[in-house]
Subunit: 301 residues, 2 copies
């Protein structure tokens, strides 16, 4: 069933936060490196990994990366081999050749990397960057919104933030943002550098491929009124400049946006005063966009 129809009859901002944070009913198993949880596995994936007992040690209800794999490179190589095997066996899709951090906390604390495609099945925390690009004209605020290409693997044809992308390992936040701005919107570094980091949206989702605890770093960028985005990498079909009330309406009343982009827009609306604090769900929205991240939170929480 199409995602837009699935949401038919439901409206409001809060349903998007709820959809990104479902009750976890599957018995995901944690996997650990050096005593710290770095991801979560479906039982069938844990079962498949029994064939690799020199890499994963099975305890009662967890998997532990073998302690003989004592450094970044050794862990990375072992996970790369397992990834190739999983892809060959058809347990997962093909490798993507992009290295994603495996970390119990922020990306700077990565203990090794894993291929992006495999990471999705290993329930690692994924990091991304989303940009709210807006224009002020005659006292009104407009936001640039993209429509995803029809051949995209996830959410084809849905609405999207003007720039949004995943964060591989080993590249700075600013460098990755500049790269994404250029590829997705033809936005040159001179302008893209004006992006203001404004926080992060966090959620703990269950996706088709596995558990998905995501962190989206959010940015605001006010653009000149005459700037027009041009997609360079084929990921975006078209861009539209919409008045902010129209964007708010699309988020509140429809399922047009890619699921997690709704949260980024809601965060923008909250920070810029476009959602009234008298609104019934206000506190649920404000706190709901910042799900606590086990492992990132200090021990005293």
């Amino acid at each position: 069933m199409d995602r837009r129809n699935r949401l038919a009859g439901q409206t409001g901002y809060l349903r998007h936060i709820q959809a990104c944070n479902p009750a976890i009913e599957e018995p995901f198993l944690p996997w650990l490196i050096a005593g710290q949880i770095v991801g979560w596995l479906r039982p069938q994936m844990a079962e498949a990994l029994k064939a690799h007992d020199r890499v994963f040690t099975h305890t009662g209800d967890a998997l532990v990366l073998h302690e003989s794999l004592g450094d970044f490179t050794a862990r990375t190589n072992a996970l790369q081999q397992i990834g190739e095997w999983l892809a060959e066996q058809g347990v997962t899709g093909s490798l993507m050749g992009e290295s994603y951090p495996v970390t119990p906390a922020g990306r700077e604390a990565a203990m090794c990397v894993i291929d992006r495609a495999i990471g999705a099945y290993f329930g690692i925390r994924a990091f991304g960057q989303h940009l709210n690009a807006y224009v002020r004209r005659n006292g009104k605020l407009y936001m640039w919104i993209g429509r995803r290409a029809r051949d995209r693997l996830v959410f084809p044809g849905h609405l999207d933030n003007m720039v949004a992308g995943g964060l591989p390992h080993g590249i700075s936040l600013m460098d990755n943002l500049l790269k994404e701005c250029e590829e997705e919107a033809g936005l040159q570094p001179e302008l893209a550098r004006n992006s203001v980091p404004v926080g992060a949206v966090t959620y703990n989702r269950v996706a088709k491929r596995g558990y998905r605890p995501d962190v989206l770093y959010c940015y605001d960028l006010e653009l000149p009124v005459d700037f027009v985005p041009h997609n360079m990498d084929g990921e975006v079909e078209s861009f539209s400049l919409l008045e902010i009330q129209e964007v708010a309406h699309l988020v509140r009343e429809t399922g047009e946006f890619k699921l997690n982009c709704n949260l980024v827009v809601i965060d923008f609306l909250l920070r810029h005063g476009f959602i009234s604090p008298e609104e019934e769900d206000y506190l649920a929205l404000v706190t709901g966009l910042r799900q606590p991240l086990v492992g990132i939170r200090p021990a005293s929480y």
Copy 2:
């Protein structure tokens, strides 16, 4: 010991969030109205309330407001009488004559009201409003900071947001903000109405008088460069206009600010890009300012 000395030797933004969200070691007992938790009591307060068994029913590990108190007025009157008795007995301080909402969720869901002084001992969620007042001049951002009067009950002589106040029951957010702006900073409604609601900071503190789950609605207000605040109610000793980097330094390196005002400033710094997302504690700060509020969160979280 002075709070500033207690923090001596400690620096960083995160310690303020930790101080506002300590591990709860005391055995607070929940109290309920119509099946919903509305506050938390110290065991000795629960014990004192045994003298009022027509108002509070003691179950094993909770107190329940007697079901015969079936509406807003009946509950309010019963709690008022108990408040007067507690003040007379010297168990609490004197009544303040301000009605605060008693609610399992947001303030609009109040099931009755309680005197502000008594509410502090009953661990009810308290709501407040804090205003970040700032000025842009020559490409720099400055923030108006108040210094609290030396005769204030809490945090005398400490730094404070330009306007900050509690939210009594039955007044709209905007009306209360306008009132506080006028009393605390001599800020007239014409200017104060430009305040932009930008979210809320939440924390679960343990204060001298009891458990303190607070919600601070936050506002940003850009002021004309020639505006100068004047305190009208004696709560503020003086105001200073400080460059934002100086404000950030005071929060990060000292204990000069009233405890919860640190969180409001950190939220401002995060939203305006003055804390780099590459900073190690970034995600702990972003999520730490939005503690989940049991009762406000939808059931599916």
